[in-house]
């Protein structure tokens, strides 16, 4: 090991960040530079494997949403929606337009919730030179209060729409088990209008923060559609090019096992790619609403942006977009009301009908854009609607190869200019910029250390 991490050594750098903090789940960063040569550059996932895909086998399709929302506490709504879409695809159920509108709304709140958590609790401390939000309670109390208020607003949105934001209750295959209450929607609408001010302040804050300068163009994948900034549905696109149906996701990218890391890494045409807010922004920024476009302009974010650190800025742009879209939708619901006949369903088939339903063995695929990128669920069911095979492709898994390629480019750039301590922080910040959600990364393997 290098003796003094705060001195500059151009030849030897060994970084071993064990249990990276301020990310969701457990991950390590390991970098080994010996005699000026980068021999190892890995983001290792050490979360205990959770086996969701095997847990689903043998369970009824009607409870898949309940189980898979438990993959992740942050993206619980996204997992629910991908699961519901896959279930409906397998069962041949078409939800009503009203139901789809309410699903989009829930997804907007999840984007807002996760993005604000990431911006204030996970990223901002690095840019303000502190270790966490805790010391900021003393030094920047109004800002912390504002961050908690913004977090609470989006969490309350989940509560009004789905009963709760973490592991939503009322969103199920076919529709909702309960309509959002009018009083709740009214209060939410008011909170959202008030949140505009907090959003404007956040833009001012972010504008003052200095993000590291780094560029590496890559392949940016996201959903896209002609009507809107795609979140709930659309086709897959890479760098805005030819679109492919999300049902053909296995043809768009491949998951390969790489020997050096023993982790499954997804690639497009043999190369790593990125998903998430920056990819969506790069592919679809022309579909953002006017306020979100104005914020992107104010923060200097232009598509295509090749600096992964600016994913955080794209998240704030999306926060504004989602807030404005939600204000419009909820305003419309408050004016027109909801047609319960088109929305309400029971979470499972009625008992007296359960035995009469004939199911056809089938495979269903569901994809939605969750805060960290495109999420896929795929289930195969038998003639009793029990799952025989399940596959979940998680954004964090898809980003892993891209993050490592970024690390491989940035380490030599910093070598000899920065201390080991500064390089370590730079890499931690890079990993955090991707907002990795490792609990979700069900595919990844345990990795043994070489430099331990």
């Amino acid at each position: 090991m290098t003796k003094n991490s705060s001195s500059i050594d151009t030849k030897n750098v060994k970084i071993d960040v064990h249990y990276l903090t301020r990310v969701e789940g457990h991950g390590n960063i390991v970098v080994d530079v010996t005699d000026g040569k980068l021999t190892k550059c890995e983001f290792q996932v050490i979360e205990s494997p959770r086996f969701f895909e095997s847990m689903l086998v043998g369970r009824s399709i009607w409870e898949a949403q309940h189980i898979t929302s438990r993959i992740c506490g942050i993206c619980a709504c996204g997992h629910s929606l991908a699961s519901i879409k896959a279930g409906e695809d397998a069962l041949g159920i078409m939800p009503s337009d009203e139901t789809i509108m309410l699903r989009k709304l829930l997804l907007y709140f999840e984007q807002m919730d996760s993005h604000i958590l990431h911006i204030y609790f996970l990223v901002a401390p690095d840019l303000l030179g502190v270790k966490s939000v805790m010391p900021l309670i003393k030094t920047h109390k109004p800002v912390v209060e504002m961050a908690l208020r913004m977090k609470r607003m989006s969490d309350y949105g989940g509560e009004v729409l789905a009963g709760r934001h973490i592991h939503p209750i009322s969103y199920v295959i076919g529709g909702l088990t309960k309509l959002p209450s009018k009083d709740g929607l009214k209060k939410l609408h008011k909170l959202m209008l008030e949140a505009r001010k907090d959003g404007e302040k956040t833009v001012k804050i972010l504008k003052k923060l200095k993000f590291p300068v780094f560029e590496r163009p890559t392949q940016y994948m996201s959903l896209a559609n002609d009507e809107e900034y795609a979140m709930y549905d659309g086709d897959l696109t890479v760098n805005g090019g030819n679109r492919a149906s999300d049902k053909n996701y296995r043809k768009v990218f491949t998951e390969t096992v790489l020997d050096y890391s023993r982790a499954k890494i997804a690639t497009i045409n043999g190369k790593s790619y990125a998903v998430g807010a920056l990819s969506r922004f790069n592919n679809n920024s022309d579909k953002l609403n006017e306020r979100a476009k104005a914020v992107a302009a104010e923060l200097g974010l232009k598509a295509p942006c090749h600096n992964p650190y600016l994913n955080t800025v794209a998240q704030l742009v999306e926060w504004v977009h989602c807030l404005e879209e939600s204000i419009v939708i909820i305003g419309k619901i408050l004016k027109d009301g909801l047609n319960k006949d088109k929305i309400l369903v029971s979470s499972w088939p009625k008992r007296s009908e359960a035995d009469k339903i004939k199911y056809k063995p089938n495979t269903g695929i569901g994809c939605v854009e969750v805060p960290r990128g495109s999420l896929f669920h795929e289930y195969t069911i038998d003639e009793t609607a029990h799952i025989t095979q399940a596959n979940c492709v998680i954004p964090t898994n898809q980003n892993m190869g891209n993050l490592e390629d970024d690390m491989r480019k940035i380490v030599p750039e910093l070598l000899g200019k920065k201390t080991q301590e500064q390089i370590t922080l730079g890499l931690e910040m890079l990993a955090r910029a991707y907002d990795p959600c490792i609990s979700c990364a069900t595919h990844l393997l345990d990795v043994k250390f070489i430099n331990g």
């Binding site: 249990y19 979360e47 992740c72 506490g73 619980a76 609790f121 966490s132 309670i137 908690l148 609990s439």
Partner: protein, 254 residues
């Protein structure tokens, strides 16, 4: 008046989705109030500080690797009070669904030919390995209950868990019984305390808080059979969160 020193609190997570910890960030201003009463010294999800000196350890997630066993024992040694937080920590939760099939099958399904590199053991609640002082149930934990348990801890009092069924709270909330609606529900055998959260929202109870101490399981099974369920489905309802009940009911039901 001299202020008493704030007890130091550390958060730890094992195998789970980290949604339990997030409930703290979802408390809004209450979270700030809480930081006046306790000093948070370790909370990896949102902090880089890693205080190793703490009085209260709030631990979420199931034990599911050999290394987890080692880690939870170390935490137990340092903490004066250990709180099991959420379904995965208190009853092993959905993680334990994998216990119902041989681990080799689970590994092969997810990791294919790399299966043998995976270290995993049956998912367990914390109290299978160490002594637990307080339990905060639910998936995800119910914020009013989190606060009630924290109050008890700070006052040095025990927090007795309700030992009656979710139905009691559900009736008080004036919900129409799921069975009346031609549906089914785990409410009759599940421990109360969530204020019938899922049923209030039009869904059914899935049993995430664990079963009451002496559930009328056979009676429940009879009712479900009467409603046309197959035995395997009934067992799946009982074991979605409650693997520990699985072995018992595997024998009793069949």
């Amino acid at each position: 008046m001299k202020k008493r020193p704030r007890p130091k609190v550390a958060f730890f997570d094992f195998t789970d989705c980290e949604g339990c910890q997030l409930q703290f960030a979802n408390m809004g201003r209450t979270f700030l109030e809480l930081t006046k009463l306790v000093k948070i010294v370790n909370f990896r999800e949102i902090m880089s500080e890693r205080g190793q000196d703490y009085d209260i350890a709030i631990v979420e997630g199931s034990i599911s690797t050999d290394n987890d066993i080692k880690r939870i024992k170390e935490i137990r040694e340092k903490a004066k009070i250990l709180v099991a937080f959420g379904s995965c920590a208190t009853i092993a939760g959905v993680n334990a669904i994998k216990n119902r099939s041989p681990l080799e099958v689970a590994k092969k399904t997810v990791y294919g030919d790399k299966a043998n590199t995976i270290n995993t053991i049956n998912a367990m609640p914390l109290d299978k390995v160490v002594k637990v002082d307080y339990y905060i149930l639910n998936c995800p934990p119910y914020i009013p209950e989190i606060i009630a348990v924290l109050k008890s801890i700070l006052m040095g009092k025990p927090y007795p868990l309700p030992n009656y069924a979710v139905c009691v709270e559900c009736k008080m909330n004036e919900n129409v019984c799921r069975y009346e609606k031609d549906e089914e529900c785990m409410g009759p055998v599940t421990r109360a305390g969530c204020n019938s959260w899922c049923i209030n929202n039009g869904n059914r109870c899935y049993g995430c808080r664990g079963l009451v101490e002496n559930p009328a399981a056979n009676g429940h099974k009879e009712i479900l059979l009467k409603y046309g369920l197959k035995l395997e489905d009934i067992l799946q309802h009982f074991t979605l969160y409650n693997d520990s009940a699985g072995e018992k009911y595997d024998k009793e039901f069949k």
